[in-house]
C-alpha cells in the first residue's frame, strides 16, 4: 500500500521538496547575513558600551524577507488544500475508489496508509519550514524578543506542525464528507482560516490566566524576554484600574485623563509622572510572561493535533459506511 501511495504522490512530493529546498536556500543566505549583522553589531556596541540601546539603533531582517516568513503562515493551508482535500474526494470524483477498493485491501487499511503518509509528510514539511523560520528569527528574537505576539508565535516553534497536521486532516475530512475536491478545497480554506484566526485572536490568550503587575508610573514594565502584552493602564489611589490612561517614561496615552493637579503642572512628561507618583498613582500591565512561550506552543499544538484526530476519526467512520 505504501508503494501505491508513493506512486500516486511522488510527483507532488518532489514539487514540495523542490519548493522547500529553494525556500531553505533563500532563508539560509539571508539568515546567515542577519546573524553576521547581529554579531558585528554586538562587537561594536560592546566596544562603545551602547548595547543597552541596540534595539533602537539596529533593525534586523528588514526588507522582503520578513514578508516571506509571514507568508509561511499559509504553508499549512496549502497542504490542507492540495494534499488533504483531494485525497479522498478526487478518487470519488474520478471513480478510482472503485478500482482501489476492489483490490484485496480493506477500505480501512487503504485509508490508514494514505492518511498516515499524508499526515506524516505534512508534519515533516511543515516542521522543516517552521524550523528554518525559527532559526532565521533567532538573532531577531535576541535583539527584540517578540516571538510571543500573534503572527510571530504562529510561524515559529512547533505550532506550525500542529497547524499542518490539522489542515491536512480538515482537507481529508471535508473531501470525504463533500465528495468533490473543488468545493472541499474551498471549505477547507474557509474553515481553516476561521479556526486559526479564532485561536490566534480569541482562544490562545486563555490557555493560562494572564499576569497583572503593578509598578511605578515612572518606569517601564520589565516583562523579561518575549512577553505578550495584553493591556496596560493606571491604578488609581483608591485601587481602581483604568485603561483610559497609560503612561511610561517618555509617553502619555490618554492626556485628558491625567488627574487635575498634575495636568496643570505639565511642563514635561517626567514632571507629570513624578506628580502622579506622589499622589499615589501606579501603572499596571496585563501580559503573558515570556517563559510561557513554550507551554503555549505545546498547548496549541496539542489542541490542533487533537482536532486533527477527531476529523480523521470522522473520516474513517464515513468511509466505512458510505457507498463507493
Amino acid at each position: 500500500m505504501t508503494w501505491v501511495i508513493w506512486r500516486q504522490y511522488r510527483l507532488s512530493a518532489a514539487v514540495a521538496g523542490a519548493i522547500l529546498a529553494a525556500f531553505a536556500i533563500l532563508m539560509l543566505i539571508t539568515g546567515l547575513k542577519i546573524a553576521a549583522e547581529w554579531h558585528s553589531a554586538l562587537v561594536t556596541c560592546a566596544k562603545d558600551r551602547t548595547c543597552g540601546n541596540l534595539s533602537q539603533s539596529l533593525y534586523l531582517g528588514g526588507g522582503p524577507m520578513r514578508a516571506v516568513t509571514a507568508l509561511t503562515l499559509l504553508v499549512p493551508l496549502l497542504f490542507g488544500m492540495f494534499w488533504g482535500s483531494p485525497a479522498v474526494a478526487r478518487e470519488r470524483e474520478t471513480g478510482t475508489v472503485q478500482f482501489a477498493w476492489m483490490q484485496s485491501v480493506t477500505r480501512r487499511r487503504w485509508l490508514s496508509v494514505k492518511v498516515g503518509w499524508l499526515l506524516l509528510a505534512s508534519a515533516v514539511f511543515g516542521g522543516a519550514v517552521a524550523g528554518i523560520v525559527t532559526w532565521w528569527y533567532s538573532p531577531v528574537n535576541a535583539l527584540k524578543p517578540d516571538q510571543f505576539s500573534p503572527g510571530n508565535f504562529d510561524i515559529q516553534g512547533i505550532v506550525p506542525i500542529g497547524y499542518a497536521v490539522f489542515a491536512v486532516a480538515l482537507g481529508i475530512a471535508a473531501g470525504t464528507l463533500i465528495g468533490r475536491s473543488l468545493p472541499a478545497l474551498a471549505v477547507t480554506c474557509g474553515v481553516f482560516l476561521a479556526i486559526r484566526m479564532a485561536f490566534t485572536y480569541v482562544v490562545r490568550v486563555h490557555y493560562m490566566p494572564a499576569v497583572t503587575t503593578i509598578y511605578s508610573v515612572t518606569q517601564n514594565l520589565n516583562g523579561k524576554g518575549a512577553y505578550w502584552p495584553l493591556g496596560q493602564g493606571i491604578v488609581l489611589p483608591n485601587g481602581q484600574l483604568t485603561s483610559t490612561l497609560s503612561v511610561g517614561p517618555g509617553y502619555i496615552i490618554g492626556q485628558g485623563a491625567i488627574p487635575a493637579p498634575c495636568a496643570q503642572d505639565s511642563t514635561s512628561i517626567s514632571s507629570t509622572l513624578t506628580c502622579m507618583a506622589h499622589l499615589g498613582y501606579h501603572s499596571f500591565a496585563t501580559y503573558q510572561p515570556g517563559y510561557r512561550f513554550w507551554p503555549f506552543q505545546f498547548i496549541e499544538t496539542g489542541i490542533f493535533v487533537g482536532l486533527a484526530a477527531v476529523l480523521i476519526a470522522v473520516t474513517f467512520f464515513i468511509v466505512a459506511r458510505r457507498d463507493a
Partner: protein
C-alpha cells in the same frame, strides 16, 4: 444410501455462488433495486440485462460490496460481501466508467495490483496489452477510451477472481475487441472455478457466450435462470385478433402486440399450448429480452394500432 449421497454431491457441485433475497437499495427518494432475488450457480456466465436505470449497476455494486443494501441480503461465495482481504481477493469488479488513475501508466497499475493482491498475474496483463499494441509506459489518461477499457479489463482479470462482476464491459470496445474479449472470458470460465456476471445491451454478444440470464426491469427481477431453461419456457403465439383471456389463465402473458389482423403474444408457458387457434413458435433470446424490457416503455409499439401492455407480475 448411495443414491442419497450422490444426490448430495450433485447438489454441492451446483452450489449457487451468488444468491440474493429481498435485496433492496434505495437512494433518498429513488428505489434503484427492489426485492431482488437472484441466484447464479457456480461456473455460469450470466448476462445481466435490462433497460437503462433498471438497477443493473446497483445490483453489481451490491454484490461487489461497494454499496450496502437498504434491505435484504446478498450471499456471494458463502457470505455477505464484506471488507475482508480474503473476500476481496475473490471478487473482480469493473465499473462501467472503467476508472483508472489517469496520470499513471498501465505498468504502474500492474504494480499497484501486484502490491495489493495475494494472487496477481502480471504477465497475463502484459501479454494481453502487448497483443493489443497498447503501450504500457504511457499515462492511461492519454489512451483512447477503448484502450483504457482493455487495460481495466486486463487488470480485473489479473486478480484471478472466482467471481467476476463486469458492468457494461463491452460498451467501449470495437467489434473485434469485443469478440476477443468475449473469447478471453469464455476461456477464463472454461478454466474452471469462475462465475461471471456481466451487464450488457448487446444481446447478440450475450447469446454467444452467456449460459445464464438475469433480466431486470423497473428495478425488479423479471427473469433469472439458465438460458436454456428460459428459452424453453417462453413461446411466441401468433393468432387472429381475439380475446387472450383463455391463454392468460394458463400461461403468463409477457407482452401482447395487436395489429388489425393478428395478435402476437410472448408468453411464459406453463406447459404446452394446445389452443389450435394459435401458431406456436420458439422465442429467441432477443425476443424474450425485448418483450420484458418493453413492458415498462409505454411508447413502445403504441402506434395507431395500440398495443395493450400486460404486466407479468399480475399473472403470477
Amino acid at each position: 444410501m448411495t443414491l442419497h449421497g450422490a444426490t448430495r454431491e450433485h447438489g454441492a457441485t451446483r452450489e449457487d455462488v451468488i444468491e440474493t433475497s429481498g435485496l433492496t437499495k434505495r437512494y433518498r427518494r429513488v428505489t434503484a433495486l427492489s426485492d431482488c432475488a437472484v441466484s447464479v450457480p457456480d461456473g455460469r456466465i450470466s448476462a445481466l440485462v435490462g433497460p437503462n436505470g433498471a438497477g443493473k449497476t446497483t445490483l453489481l455494486r451490491l454484490l461487489a460490496g461497494l454499496a450496502a443494501p437498504t434491505a435484504g441480503r446478498a450471499v456471494v461465495l458463502g457470505g455477505p460481501p464484506r471488507q475482508d482481504p480474503a473476500y476481496l481477493a475473490e471478487i473482480g469488479f469493473l465499473a462501467q466508467e472503467v476508472p483508472l488513475y489517469r496520470r499513471l501508466t498501465a505498468q504502474d497499475h500492474i504494480g499497484i495490483g501486484a502490491h495489493l493482491n495475494p494472487r496477481w498475474d502480471a504477465e497475463s496483463v502484459r501479454a494481453r496489452l502487448s497483443g493489443l499494441r497498447i503501450p504500457l509506459d504511457r499515462a492511461v489518461g492519454t489512451l483512447s477510451g477503448g484502450q483504457r477499457a482493455q487495460v481495466a479489463l486486463a487488470l480485473t482479470l489479473a486478480k484471478r477472481p472466482r467471481v467476476l462482476l463486469l458492468d457494461e464491459p463491452l460498451a467501449a470496445l470495437d467489434p473485434l475487441a469485443r469478440r476477443n474479449f468475449l473469447a478471453t472470458l469464455t476461456e477464463a470460465a472454461a478454466g474452471g472455478d469462475l462465475t461471471i456476471v456481466l451487464s450488457s445491451h448487446l444481446i447478440a454478444d450475450i447469446e454467444r457466450v452467456c449460459d445464464h440470464l438475469i433480466l431486470l426491469s423497473r428495478s425488479r427481477v423479471q427473469v433469472c435462470g439458465d438460458v436454456e431453461t428460459v428459452l424453453a419456457e417462453h413461446r411466441i403465439l401468433v393468432g387472429p385478433r381475439k380475446d387472450t383471456t383463455a391463454i392468460g389463465q394458463t400461461h403468463a402473458i409477457v407482452r401482447e402486440d395487436t395489429t388489425a389482423r393478428q395478435t402476437t403474444l410472448l408468453v411464459k408457458a406453463n406447459g404446452p399450448v394446445i389452443d389450435p387457434a394459435w401458431a406456436v413458435e420458439d422465442a429467441n433470446l432477443e425476443e424474450i429480452v425485448l418483450g420484458y424490457m418493453s413492458q415498462d416503455d409505454p411508447a413502445y409499439g403504441a402506434g395507431p394500432e395500440t398495443a395493450r401492455l400486460s404486466a407479468v407480475g399480475g399473472d403470477r
